[in-house]
Amino acid sequence: MNRVITDYKKENRRAIIKAIILRVLCYSFLCFVSVMCIFFFYLLLVNTTRANNDLQGGRFTLMLSRFFNQNFKNLFSKFKTDFDALKGFRASFVIAFSSAVLTCYFSALTAYGIYAYDFKGKRLMEAFILAIMMIPPQLSSVGFFQMASKYGLKNNWWMLILPSIAAPSIFFYMIQYLRATLPKDLIESSRIDGSNEFMTFNRVVLPIMKPALAVQMIFAFVGSWNNLYMPSLLLSDSEKKTLPVMINALQRTSWGNIDLGCVYMAIFLSILPVVIVYLFLSRFIIKGVTAGSVKG
């Protein structure tokens, strides 16, 4: 009897040690990934506090320096013509906000249309939209640029806002969310209650999709805010440039007398709103990402 108890204890101890090792490994890996994620932001912060000479020297350090204020002042005095922060923020905000709102609304509307209605070619249409996800935007950018040039729509923000309405990845998320959370009875009930189709979407479906809309709006906003490729192709007027385009210009035009401290400061300022949004809404984002994944 005693032997059995001893064996059981040994077995139990082994299982506990195994679980502890596994947990340590898991947490180590997660810590590593977290450090990797934060590392670049920290490095950016360090570089904003370092002087240009120090940065030009190429010495790598993780220690904060004391040139933060200096870099900030330099950015707004020396590079006033290349980097107009207020105009850049305004352009980035208008484009990012408008495209985030429009892309989420129209993606939800498209997803609702395909989810709620039965019509011929419905599956084909869904497959087609998803297939568009496979095409990189760079592929169509040449044609798009030519079209914008031909119709004199370069330097027009609408050329950046309107095409983003068609976002297959957001559509895909929305339709999955609808399938998991929206019973068709609700739509039918609304129809019988006297509502027309558009009101049903706006008054019943959209409020139910709030978590999905919120999270996708944040992602779309950040995506558009950080977008460099299309804005740098289309926006050449300094009055209309977005922040990433300005930072890019800052690097190129000031190559002779480049101030890396100022460049890092500009990058730091440009990501600041996004970081704040993430910090405040992280819980909401996680909730929105997982919402609808489990039926119930």
């Binding site: 019973p183 009875d185 609700l186 039918e188 009930s189 609304s190 129809r191 019988i192 209650d193 006297g194 509502s195 027309n196 009101m199 008054r203 019943v204 409020p207 139910i208 709030k210």
Partner: protein, 420 residues
């Protein structure tokens, strides 16, 4: 209130393209094999869900569509609501042809099985939702055709009236997720009646509730019916709901109406074997028997020689139908079977005390002349009134008999009641 008329209404779900091609390839095999495997009726156009549905529902009548799963009762209701297209036939609501009219313009309301409450709205907003779309004529001196929506005050007044009727006034500020099943059901009913619809449709509204709450809500629907004057069309698979609620019952099977009658008539005079088995609990007992004509009189003889002479009313019906002597299926309801001196000899296996009565399951001794169509064994089920004293008959050998006025005679070939 409005009358609802359905004339030769049919619903066929067309095949999707892939199936259509394969259907054309092997039409005969498809029809024969698939129809055998399931209760689906396949046609060249598609799957037949409802076939030749005809009914005239009067103003203020309470009609219950009842039948097993997949019999087309919900499809019929959805066609009346406008949520499903009608493949062929005509639907009239209040004398108006409604086939192509949108659900919102039919002036109907519907209570769904899942309640279908809007989760982001409070109870008040849920009930008020249909009122936001109500328009009515409000002639002004300079605009005789003026049409307007209800004002906020009018909406509030009507919501409070509905809430009072359903006793949910204290729940008006809550969201649906904070309500119990019964409360949600009341809110769903409130939302349906607040608009005073011409027709109130209910699609298995009580099936998500537990047994006790279901009984309570059933009684409340009966009360509600007294208070609001509207035409009710109610779908259920629960025969007790059908029997207790309906002015008339429509029994359906495989998309076809089997019988339209009052609950009492459906129970007492089932048109065919299916109805006799579907309506009534416990199930009807079936016996293999022979219908004989002796000296101009019909007699039913069971295998052990037990003979029953149908009552004069039944005799007359059989004579009118020129029914010949034949092998039949004899049906007798458990409440019509009694312990007698002469009858079928059985050994009691189980006795269930139900309160005022007992359900007795007894195995027939000697010969297997019950039909095991619905029964799991060679048993007779009888309901015996206890009259204040419960006697446990388990193990006893008893003789069970029945009178000629309670027997139901079904043709073995067609399974139809020979009296009709």
């Amino acid at each position: 209130m409005a009358d609802v008329v359905l004339k030769h209404v049919e619903k066929i779900y067309p095949y999707v393209e892939k199936k259509k091609r394969s259907f054309k390839r092997s039409l005969k095999n498809q029809v024969e094999e698939k129809a055998k495997k399931s209760n689906l009726q396949l046609t060249e156009k598609g799957v037949l869900a409802v076939k030749d549905f005809n009914i005239e529902i009067k103003d203020g009548e309470f009609i219950v569509l009842v039948g097993p799963s997949g019999c087309g009762k919900s499809t019929t209701l959805r066609m009346i609501a406008g949520l499903e297209d009608i493949t062929s036939g005509e639907l009239y609501i209040d004398g108006k042809l409604c086939n192509a009219i949108e659900p919102k313009d039919r002036d109907i309301a519907m209570v769904f099985q899942s309640y279908a409450l809007y989760p982001h709205m409070t109870v008040f907003d849920n009930i008020a939702y249909p009122l936001k779309f109500v328009k009515y004529k409000d002639p002004l001196p300079n605009k005789p055709d003026n049409v307007r929506h209800l004002t906020k005050k009018e909406i509030e007044k009507r919501v409070l009236e509905a809430a009072k009727l359903l006793e949910i006034e204290e729940l008006l500020d809550r969201k649906p997720k904070h309500l119990s099943g019964g409360q949600r059901q009341r809110v769903a009913i409130g939302r349906a009646i607040v608009r005073n619809p011409k027709v109130l449709l209910m699609d298995e509204p009580l099936s998500n509730l537990d047994a006790k709450l279901r009984n309570q809500m059933r009684a409340e629907i009966i009360n509600l019916r007294e208070k609001i004057k509207t035409t009710f069309i109610y779908v259920t698979h629960d025969q007790i709901e059908a029997m207790t609620l309906g002015d008339r019952i429509v029994v359906m099977k495989d998309g076809i109406i089997q019988q339209i009658d009052t609950p009492q008539d459906v129970y007492e005079h089932p048109r065919n074997l299916f109805i006799s088995g579907f309506i009534g609990s416990p199930r009807m007992n079936y016996f293999d028997a022979e219908l004989l004509i002796q000296a101009g009189q019909y007699k039913v003889v069971l295998k052990n020689g037990y003979t029953v002479v149908p009552c004069e009313e039944k005799q007359a019906r059989l004579r009118n139908n020129h029914v010949k002597g034949q092998r039949i299926i004899l049906g007798v309801r458990p409440d019509h079977i009694a312990i007698k001196d002469e009858g079928i000899e059985c050994k009691v296996r189980v006795s269930e005390l139900m309160g005022a009565s007992s359900h007795i399951h007894a195995e027939i001794i000697g010969n297997d002349y019950t039909l095991s169509k619905d029964a799991s064994s060679n048993d007779i089920i009888a309901i015996i009134q206890n009259n204040g004293t419960y006697k446990n008959y388990v193990g006893s050998i008893l003789k069970f008999g029945f009178n000629g006025n309670v027997v139901h005679m079904f043709s073995k070939e067609t399974e139809n009641n020979l009296e009709f």
